[in-house]
């Protein structure tokens, strides 16, 4: 996981992009492919997240009674619709992966010692995996009309049961 910063002396190549004695070769080893993918993922997921998060904020905070409308019955009403289940699932995964990669880059930037970087990333990846799996489990196993619950706290369609 830790990569010591060492000067790597490379064999000159005919396609070297060299400006003032400094090489600006973008594709070197296979090691850089992950960073390229992560860079692209941040931009692609960012565009999708703007739509998903702005839609989420508009529906939950702006429409109707705003934040006062949010309760167990509200969530039950939303997740009864597969459209909002898929919306929230995609938003959860993209936002968590986008945020986890962002924090990974920040750890790489500011944690100077190899062991510090390693353990901060272990903590980050464990916490992220836990939250992603918990959120996914909640969306798919949610019971909007639990047996024995106070009917006044549930979505209106529960009273038909």
């Amino acid at each position: 996981m830790s990569t010591p910063l060492k000067t790597k002396i490379q064999v000159p190549r005919s396609r070297d992009l060299e400006v003032d004695g400094v090489k600006y070769n973008r594709a070197g080893s296979s090691r850089s492919r992950f960073e390229m993918f992560a860079w692209l993922f941040m931009r692609m997921s960012g565009i999708v997240l703007i739509v998903l998060v702005f839609g989420h904020l508009f529906v939950n905070l702006m429409v109707g009674e705003g934040v006062h409308a949010v309760d167990f019955g509200f969530v039950g009403g939303k997740w009864a619709n597969p459209f909002w289940q898929v919306w929230d699932l995609v938003m959860l995964w993209l936002a968590m992966l986008h945020g986890t990669n962002g924090i990974r880059v920040i750890i790489d930037d500011y944690a100077a010692r190899n062991t510090t970087r390693f353990w901060l990333k272990v903590l980050l990846f464990v916490a992220s995996a836990f939250v992603i799996l918990l959120g996914t489990m909640v969306i798919f196993t949610f019971e909007p009309c639990p047996a024995g619950a106070d009917p006044s706290l549930l979505a209106s369609f529960c009273s038909a049961h």
Binding site: G66, G135, M137, L153
Partner: protein, 125 residues
């Protein structure tokens, strides 16, 4: 030539501060997201447990916190688009400062109606 007193085109100027703000808002949003998934997970515990915790989101102090969170999200979103334009649009680097003013203008345009609506919901009872 750049030196430590005059700085560079980047250091200490629009490019740097927009980047600092992007990092700070990103970290803040990430930690809120962790908490938000955990509080939403309470729907698997009981309606009462979920409603009790969500009720705290409805008090005026948390309402102000939500306004700050949305302000951070809107900045991060529009500045993210600016970064994409700098990376992919031919004129992006040349116009990065103008794009930042665009980000700030869009932020104001979105935040004014949001704050009017959200704060009247939070403080209007």
């Amino acid at each position: 030539m750049a030196n430590s007193t005059s700085g560079t085109l980047y250091r200490g100027q629009y490019g740097m501060w927009s980047w600092v703000a992007h990092r700070i808002t990103g970290v803040a949003i990430f930690f809120f997201l962790l908490v938000h998934v955990l509080d939403t997970a309470l729907v698997r515990v009981s309606p009462e447990a979920y409603n009790a915790v969500i009720a705290t989101y409805k008090n005026p102090i948390m309402g102000l916190g939500e306004a700050g969170l949305v302000g951070a999200i809107v900045y991060h979103a529009f500045n993210g688009l600016r970064i994409i334009l700098i990376d992919f649009w031919k004129g992006g680097t040349k116009h990065q400062k103008g794009l930042l003013w665009g980000v700030i203008a869009l932020w104001v345009i979105v935040m004014i109606p949001f704050l009017v609506r959200h704060l009247s919901v939070v403080f209007g009872g």
